[in-house]
Amino acid sequence: MSKRNPDYDFKWCPGCGDFGVKRAIESALVQRSTEKQESVEHTVMVAGIGCSGNLVHLQEGPQPFGIHGIHGRTLPIAYGIKSGRPDLNVLIVSGDGDFLSIGGEHIGPQAKRNLDVTAVVMDNGVYGLTKGQASPTTEFEAVTPTTPYGKLDDRMSPLETYLSAGVGYLASTLSTQVKQMAELISDAMDHPGFAVVHVQSPCTTYNDTYAALKGNAKEGIEPLAFPIPDDHDPEDFMAAVTLARTGRVPVGLLYRRSDSVPAHERLRAARERVGVKQLSVDEILTGMAI
């Protein structure tokens, strides 16, 4: 059920991390529309397929446009939206399976183009909607319905993947940090180019990582999550790689490329530089006259 449409009856499981992400996005959009007078109709939410993607139907408050398509194709759809409409703000909401497995091929090309979109990736380390199979971010050796002997593939490091692909803005956070997440999302939307906010968003039904992320002082369990130290320079690429390779979950802004020129700006500038004249169809046809 959503405010907009009481007939819509999808529900996340109690405690699902995605609730926090929803609240963070809502608050970022409200803030942008009140503080920056950004028109919410100029925001398009592009959703992946998975529990996470259903966020697009659940959004309360000011209603952006949405598109909820097929599994793994948020980025190319966003590419098409921005291609002729750089005036639109595109916000991707996707899961680890959708964005990093079947959709993983699209990260590199958009990073190289520096497409001006923000992707919020809800990483629960599992395929939620299809009932708990291993995803690229599932822990090594975890037993799931598709890994009866424990997962044998190395765990993927999404942060490292984004960095090497050339993503120009990268933040990592937790679904419980709603306020910080809202700020990071808004900051990412301000970044002129491809930005990713990667969120640890636990799946209470199939992969409940709340305890592991928080740790447990009593039982001597170190938390996986740790705040990015204040002295980290987000423009230092190798430092960001090092943070990404800790095997833990850094929380905060990892990387920001300062010289970021987004795809549509590159095109505009190049066209201006080259200054080719647009011929009409009639002129082109006339050029073919016998």
Partner: protein, 570 residues
């Protein structure tokens, strides 16, 4: 005197055989002949057996012609593999620097490279050969001189010298075979043609048709024989109104033009079979979420990587139903270079009008051939735009049982475009009655596309010939001959394969037999027609090459005989 002249330049890729045929055709077009080119080459960059052909005629050309009047063979392999198509009395010009021939006096050796060097322009071997061809065909050299002069008058220093050199080469070539012998009947002088004529290739025509109808965005991934549309767009669309991009795969292409269509743009991609096969899911999404877009699928030989540089008409079935679930994708298939222009314009307009995906189904033989046509009358091109939502139905984008106003991001009517089954605001649902209602809505929308026109002739005949796509020309050639021979045969033709114009379908259903020539094994279009209650039978060919008129004619006559035998027995 003859009305037609067919010249084939055969050799290796990289030897300029395609270029040679195109220069000859362009020159002939310029002095008033009708021309058509055709080329075939393997999937490699340099080398490999290749040939280009120029068909030249005093009347409109329906097809490239069945037999060669002149074969230019640049090597032994080219001679061996093309001479069977030389007509009786035809002439061979061969590269005497490469091999020797004794063809009963109908072969003449020319050392083109050496002559070119002697002419002072070592790159003029083509011109030497063209001079020889003109001489043997009885075509005044002045025709080609005219062309050379126009072509190289580019306002640059040295133009004059180049023109002179080329003309010299022409004459040297002519000289080299003067007095030897000539074609029995030289080609007639051209008769003046009314109107503004252009020489244009199929891929240019479909690109320009789409642009004329208002195309905004083009995103494609290279693949033969569809890359030319992508590079044409890159070269010709500039400025803020347009976006042209190379994608990283066809899966990206289809999703990207879907995104553009969603955002209000008229968007298109071009691809060929392997790419189309990757777009099934995306096309289903466009159907389901009701997003306008056009996929130009330029057919080559299939399946899989297949025959990348050959022509075939074997992607019809997958175009109609490219993915899972119930859908019926509109398909427009041009039959000539001229139609390629109008078909592309219609595809863009159809997509806007019914708010969904359209396939422009062309083929290698059309995309790659040059033809002289009358310059399309641009005042006849419509530029349709989807009805945009003014917000009066709020966010109920999928309201109603047919086409409804389209909310464009940035404007009113925020909704979720959804590829899952959805209710009116676009939210996911699993309710049986909503699935039924929305399925009806999607199919009802096809009703606004029932305006396709069609050709029909001799509609009283019980048996009719109905080609589709690029087989139109050869079929028309065969048809004309059959009619001339006094037989009764109907003729039907349309570019609008889905939905078929309803009146056409009615007519076809009333026939005893509809004969469908098509370049595939399965007889794809006749299967579709039979499934719609038409007694259709195919004549198939799957060689990677177009039909020859003569062969097609025999096959048609055979089917007609079999049918009348059947009728007699009833």
């Amino acid at each position: 005197m003859s009305k037609n002249l067919v010249v084939r330049f055969a050799g290796e890729g990289g030897q300029g055989v395609v270029g040679g045929s195109e220069i000859l055709a362009a020159a002939a077009a310029q002095v008033g002949y009708h021309v058509q080119t055709f080329a075939t080459f393997p999937s490699q960059i340099k080398g490999g057996p290749a040939w280009g052909q120029a068909s030249i005629s005093t009347g409109p050309l329906l097809s490239g012609g069945d037999y060669l009047d002149i074969l230019v063979a640049l090597n032994r392999y080219a001679y061996d593999h093309n001479v069977q198509e030389l007509r009786e009395g035809g002439i061979v010009i061969y590269n005497s620097e490469d091999f020797e021939l004794d063809e009963g006096g109908r072969a003449i050796g020319i050392a083109a490279d050496q002559l070119a060097r002697e002419s002072g322009n070592p790159r003029a071997a083509n011109m030497i050969v063209i001079g020889a061809v003109a001489e043997l065909a009885g075509m005044p050299l002045s025709y080609i001189e005219q062309f050379v002069t126009k072509r190289f008058s580019r306002g640059r220093p040295g133009d004059e010298q180049i023109i002179e050199g080329n003309i010299k080469a022409l004459h040297m070539g002519a000289e080299a075979c003067k007095g030897s012998f000539s074609l029995g009947s030289p080609i007639e002088d051209p008769t003046p043609i009314e109107g503004e004529r252009i020489l244009i290739k199929g891929f240019e025509a479909s690109s320009l048709g789409a642009i004329a109808a208002g195309l905004d965005t083009f995103i494609g991934y290279p693949i033969s024989p569809a890359t030319t549309m992508l590079t044409f767009m890159e070269a010709n669309l500039h400025g803020d109104d347009y976006f042209v991009g190379q994608s990283s795969s066809e899966i990206e292409s289809i999703a990207a033009i879907l995104g553009a269509g969603y955002a209000g743009k008229r968007a298109m991609t071009s691809t060929a079979g392997p790419g189309l096969s990757l777009m099934g899911e995306g096309l289903g999404l466009a159907w389901m979420a009701e997003i306008p877009l056009v996929v130009a699928n330029i057919q080559r030989g299939g399946p899989a990587t297949g025959l990348p540089t050959k022509t075939e008409q074997s992607d019809l079935l997958v175009s109609l139903n490219p993915g899972h679930g119930d859908m019926s994708i509109p398909v427009i298939a041009p039959g000539t270079v001229e139609e390629a222009f109008w078909a592309a314009a219609a595809a863009v307009n159809w997509a806007e009008r019914y708010q969904g995906p359209v396939i422009l189904l062309s083929e290698a033989s059309i995309a790659e051939r040059a033809e002289d046509i009358l310059k399309p009358d641009l005042s006849l091109v419509r530029e349709e735009r989807r009805t945009v939502s003014d917000g009066s139905v709020e966010n109920r984008r999928y309201e109603g049982d047919g086409v409804s106003p389209f909310p464009v991001p940035g404007g009113p009517g925020a909704y979720v475009a959804n590829g899952s089954e959805h209710d009116e605001p676009g939210d996911t649902t699993h309710l049986p009655d909503v699935h039924v209602r929305m399925t009806h809505r999607r199919f009802n929308k096809l009703d606004v596309l029932m305006d396709g026109d069609y050709e029909s002739e001799r509609t009283d005949a019980p048996v009719a010939l109905m080609p589709w796509g690029g087989s139109k020309g050869s079929a028309r050639g065969a048809y004309n001959e059959i009619i001339e021979e006094g037989e009764d045969l109907g003729w039907y033709y349309t570019m609008y394969l889905n939905p078929l114009p309803p009146a056409l379908l009615d007519e076809l259903r009333a026939k005893e037999l509809v004969i469908v020539p098509e370049l595939n094994y399965l007889g794809q279009f006749s299967r579709v027609l039979r499934s719609m209650g038409v007694n259709a039978q195919s004549i198939t060919q799957y060689t990677g090459l177009p039909f020859k008129v003569g062969e097609l004619k025999s096959s048609v006559r055979e089917q007609m005989r079999a049918e009348s035998g059947k009728l007699a027995r009833v």
